[in-house]
Symmetry: C2
Subunit: 351 residues, 2 copies
């Protein structure tokens, strides 16, 4: 949102070197209205300074802890580029980051993006930031700036990478509680994903686009959507379902099922000495996962490490409260089903 | 520091698709000691959660405002890659971000990095993060995490992009004061840069490497250093000089001379109705700038828009205090010389 590499309308040598400064300046102006639509009363001052400003005065959280995370959307950007659809990966990125913070027990406050690209196509860039801004607005997160860097020697024409940074807040006591609350017997509730989310795209692209030679506008075998639509389905935000539960004492932790799958992520929410047994028959993975396994000859264990298998987020809940928490998630539009138990041990056991 | 794309030691299909998970896992472990060396008492908990945690309890700043910024180092990464020297661009990035916050009147607290790469060379990756960690330590900034994404379809082998996100803090009253403090007659003090910093590398590379056909291990014509050393000189951090001045009432604003040069950046520190007259004879630009202008046939105006011309940071100071502020900068190891005046009008006038 802020700094497109050096700007100015009269720089012939720089333009010859591959950086169009007029386009960059126009792009900056176009972004302001998109960005300011995400701003609430805590955003201080105007864009154009050297940093975005967010007031921390009188936060409702006691003993507040800032929780931060950086992420990208992996090679999902290459699917977007191949499909010519650039206004959804920004939402993917914001939702992914919001979910990372929820898994830590934090509510998201603000976001910044980084777009690295070869030559700046203003339409593509605007679509990208439109997606980021839409994701921010939907999650009540302030888009506080960002960087769009034209680097023609590094990125090929028409290609870009997209990364994001999120900051949120949690009361210290909640972090402490989540760090040690889980105990053997707790129920693992699984919340459905909307598709691959943002993980496993290098493998999925290889299977679908290279091995099978599918086109993105071709229909998937199991339904009416195209491969482009299936592969670009937006990463789900669990804010509406999980946000209101953060202060629920029966909630002992949360898991964002990202890179590494269940095995890589469930243990991050458990104290030492505890693991989880996940019952693979407790839910039906959407058909895309079975298709990828068959078409790519990918074994069950690797499938579960690379992909989310249809469960994008887990809650660790006291057994007595599992039904109530599940109902509250359902009311918020996200059904949550029991998919396993916390057990003595470590890691994830399938059974 | 945290999430290398999906991990696990037994994922043959994923490895065939170009992502080596074992290397990624080993890389993660190596990073922990580098990262934790940057952590002070406000860093809460361990790495491996879904986000880094930084306590905001009892901040010394009254009515604290979080100031955040995202940035990259532009195609300076391509110079590093060509030189095979990967442990300095991380420092560039941190220092650049710290200086952006100083220009806003904020002190930096925490940093996250994003590395996008083709195939993860663990030595290169460790060098990169070593530079980031060294920069964080030198600026007393906590390295709170980051993302290293292997994206073999997007980045060529051996190439990477590097972006960073910084968060810092400022008292609200200081932001308010800086927003309106500058007045006509204020002195603009210039602080020396260490070289090109992180701007203008697309043009500089084109001139030096393409037009002139220089090798990076060739000596520059004006001295003993090589072109590689000259082009990779680390972006200067102005924290030691400027940090102690932030509460000085005579300091009316600050400027980080980045992309856009004086014309693009000085106005960002001035209220509407004010501009600056900069005296180009007040300092001698280091020889690299004259060389680039001559060898590239770049006009004066474009030089001043693309490059910092030897001044990397400016302070806007009450005339009566200019000498004292200048002396305090010198004592901190960074001489500051008067290079211009704030005047009625707008933009930057040369004279």
């Amino acid at each position: 949102m802020s700094d497109v590499e050096p700007g100015g309308a009269d720089a012939p040598a720089y333009r010859a070197a591959g950086v169009d400064l007029e386009t960059a300046d126009r792009f900056k102006r176009d972004l302001r209205s998109l960005v300011s639509a995400t701003h609430g009363p805590r955003v201080v001052g105007q864009l154009g300074g050297f940093g975005g400003c967010f007031s921390l005065a009188d936060l409702p959280e006691a003993d507040p802890v800032l929780v931060v995370s950086a992420d990208g959307v992996g090679t999902k950007v290459l699917v977007a580029q191949r499909a010519g659809r650039h206004d959804t990966v920004g939402e993917d990125l914001v939702n992914h980051c919001v979910d990372d913070l929820l898994a830590q027990g934090a509510r998201a406050l603000l976001f910044l993006d980084y777009v690295g690209t070869g030559r700046l196509d203003p339409h593509v860039a605007r679509d990208l930031v439109t997606g980021v801004a839409r994701g921010c607005r939907a999650n009540a997160v302030a888009l506080l700036g960002g960087e769009t860097a034209e680097m023609p020697g590094l990125y090929r024409d028409g290609e870009y990478d997209l990364a994001g940074f999120i900051a949120g807040i949690a009361p210290h006591a909640r972090l402490e509680r989540w760090n040690r609350a889980a105990r053997a017997g707790d129920v693992v509730l699984g919340l459905p994903s909307s598709g691959l989310h943002t993980n496993g795209y290098t493998l999925a692209r290889r299977i679908v686009l290279d091995l099978e030679g599918r086109e993105l506008d071709e229909r998937v075998p199991w339904g009416g959507e195209t491969w482009g639509e299936a592969l670009l389905a937006v990463h789900r935000s669990y804010r509406d379902a999980v946000g209101p539960l953060l202060d629920e004492p029966a909630l002992h932790g949360a898991v964002h099922v990202t890179g590494g799958g269940f095995a890589g992520n469930v243990p991050r929410a458990l104290p030492p000495g505890l693991g989880a047994r996940i019952d693979r028959s407790a839910w039906d993975p959407p058909p895309i996962f079975g298709h990828l396994a068959r078409a790519g000859g990918v074994g069950q264990e690797e499938m579960a490490r690379v992909f989310n298998l249809g469960i994008g987020f887990c809650l660790i809940v006291e057994p007595a409260a599992a039904e109530d928490v599940s109902a509250r998630c359902a009311v918020a539009g996200t059904p949550a089903v029991p998919i396993g138990l916390v057990i003595e041990g470590s890691g994830v056991t399938w059974g």
